[in-house]
């Protein structure tokens, strides 16, 4: 049995995690950590959270055997955890229901969020609308350009989208700006972080709100195949869908693969793979693997998928890498696009580009494994938001 009991009281996952922020935010984080600790074992909070997951989000999401795709590959059987079927189209909603509810229990009526692909922004805007809260979403101008449908959705849901033009105008900069705004409004505003990154308590909090994915998947796959799967695969940007799937399996004899975005290729420098190619540092409030130069300046991340385009990663993934419990592998833009096409063609499911990275890695694994092995892939989101972007790329490569 794998001995695993993280984080510690102050949010450390081994040498990773912690709280590294300016003093103005420290009291708010200490308050959030205390509130989270209190409510995560509070019966009425949990009842409300679970009821919303069931009746609003539409949980449990199914586990589906991708039979035609598996047969085509001719190796291991591929199963999909269908987070794409969750309300608002991705796993992100599990976390925003949890955090927005927590904000409500703490007596706050304003939430802010950062977003890359827009999926977390949409999920936050959704739950803010549900709970009657004011909502501001910070988004890089580059991503606003790439993800118009989600920008329009957020507007319709009543959220204000704040364009961020500093830096590269992507997720990292949106997070910087959200933190700056939070410093200003910290007294009455709750910051809903979209992934298992950021200062304590966010990494543990988001994991706890997302672990429902793995809890469900564990039961469902047992019902379907009578045992646990051989391999779990999930994509890792910040890493919340992967933590959600992996966490309930950590003590099991199950292989785990976290898939990072290798962009144009891990050797080109144009990628978003801190666990495969980064070094340890502190960004956005916690210590973890980062893309940085030798002076500690943060490098630009690049991926075809705006949701993976982040130079850092959740600290718990850094620990799981060091412990050797999860294997982290890179998948390029091209491989992801190919998987995107294949799932659409063979199963009638159009996956998000993020999830396509996980799928691409699963396809590689499946090819080298026997037919009685089972690979469970977290299909973290649906591809509607990526259609225009992906089709443009596919059009270019097939001409």
């Amino acid at each position: 049995m794998f001995d695993y009991n993280y984080p510690d009281q102050r949010g450390h996952f081994g040498e990773f995690g912690g709280i590294y922020v300016g003093e103005t935010l420290m009291p708010a984080l200490i308050e959030a950590a205390a509130a989270f600790e209190k409510y995560i074992i509070d019966k009425s909070f949990l009842a409300e959270f679970n009821s919303l997951l069931k009746h609003y989000v539409g949980r449990p999401t199914p586990v589906y055997h991708a039979g035609r795709l598996s047969e085509h590959i001719g190796g291991a059987q591929i199963y999909l955890k269908r987070e794409d079927l969750a309300h608002s189209g991705a796993h992100k909603i599990n976390n925003t229901v949890g955090q927005t509810l927590l904000a409500k229990y703490m007596g706050k009526n304003r939430v802010i969020a950062e977003t890359g692909a827009g999926q977390h922004g949409v999920a936050t805007a959704t739950t803010a609308a549900l709970m009657g809260m004011e909502c501001k979403v910070f988004m890089g101008v580059e991503d606003i350009e790439r993800q118009q449908p989600n920008v329009q959705r957020m507007g319709l849901l009543g959220a204000t989208v704040v364009p961020v033009s500093s830096g590269t105008g992507t997720l990292k900069d949106a997070m910087n700006e959200a933190m700056r705004y939070w410093v200003e409004a910290v007294e009455d505003t709750f910051y809903v972080i979209g992934t298992v990154a950021g200062p304590h308590p966010y990494p543990v909090m988001v994991r706890e709100f997302q672990k429902i994915i793995g809890i469900e998947a564990r039961t469902q796959i047992k019902e379907l195949i009578g045992r646990l799967p051989d391999v779990l695969v999930a994509c890792v940007g910040g890493g919340s869908n992967a933590m959600g799937l992996f966490y309930p399996f950590i003590g099991d004899e199950v292989e785990m693969i976290g898939v990072e975005a290798a962009g144009e290729g891990i050797e080109t420098g144009r990628h978003a793979a801190p666990l495969c190619k980064g070094t340890v540092g502190v960004l956005h409030g916690s210590k973890s693997y980062l893309l940085q130069d030798e002076d500690g300046q943060i490098k630009h991340a690049y991926s075809v998928s705006a949701g993976l385009d982040y130079p850092g990663v959740g600290p718990e993934h850094s620990l799981l890498k060091e412990l050797g419990r999860v294997r982290y592998v890179p998948v390029t833009d091209d491989e992801a696009i190919e998987a995107f096409k294949m799932l659409s063609r063979f199963e009638g499911i159009i996956p998000a580009l993020e999830s396509s990275h996980a799928l691409a890695s699963a396809l590689k694994e499946a090819r080298s494994r026997s037919k009685d092995e089972v690979i469970l892939v977290n299909l973290s989101g649906r591809g509607d938001k990526d259609l225009a972007h992906a089709l443009a790329i596919i059009g270019k490569t097939t001409k």
């Binding site: 102050r10 912690g18 709280i19 590294y20 922020v21 300016g22 003093e23 103005t24 935010l25 420290m26 009291p27 708010a28 500093s166 830096g167 990292k172 910087n176 933190m179 700056r180 410093v183 200003e184 910290v186 007294e187 340890v280 540092g281 502190v282 960004l283 956005h284 409030g285 980062l290 940085q292 030798e294 002076d295 500690g296 300046q297 943060i298």
Partner: protein, 266 residues
Amino acid sequence: MNRIEKRFAEYKKNGRKALVGFISAGDPSVEMSKKLIREMIAGGLDVLELGVPFSDPTADGPVIQRSSSRALAAGVNMGVCFDIVRDIRSYDADVPVVLFSYYNPIIAYGERFYEDATAAGADGVLIVDLPPEEAGELTDKWPGNELVVIHLIAPTTYDERVKLISTASRGFLYLISRTGVTGTGGIDIDGVGRYVDRIRRQTDLPLCVGFGISTPEDAFAMAGHADGIVIGSAFEKVIEKNPDNPDLPKIMGDFVRGFRGALDRY
């Protein structure tokens, strides 16, 4: 006693208020930066906060973000910052120099940080995103105690934390005047005064107030409560307005004299 502690002890004795100034190291260029600092010290700057540029300065507003980008574009890294400190020591043996940094550039510099910083002549560090709870992982390994660690206190800091922070600090405490990032809004003198007085009851460390002080009048008014004032964005605005002006050092020196004069009138 290191230079910072010595200076504040002296000022306490003769009732003088300290003028603490921040500029980003190497903004707009390394050579100009050295000249600027020399003129600022000649103009009456008491403590220099030398900003180590960082790509993602989340605690700073647009003015300091831009100055940080200019410094990075000018090729500044920790080594260049040490070089600037050495330059200061070539003509001034006494002025305290505090390295003002985010944590990541210090982690990246590695284990020789303490030795190299003290050898260059730096006296303290103020690491914006390193709270006392986490600071031990850096300072526990330091081979000496020549470099002091200055922590920040914010209006949101409750009393129990004030105790924790002042125990972890030496030199002085940096009181952030308002919740918000640097260089935004003005300053509510009475409100900040009450807050300084509240912290004063809990520590013997000298208290310097920063964020939102942009005129000699603000400085004069704050001198009634604090042991020193910190100017950052206002200095950076002067640099930003005169990027190619060869008279920039003189303009900056005169600007510093304005604040010096106000504090000396107190």
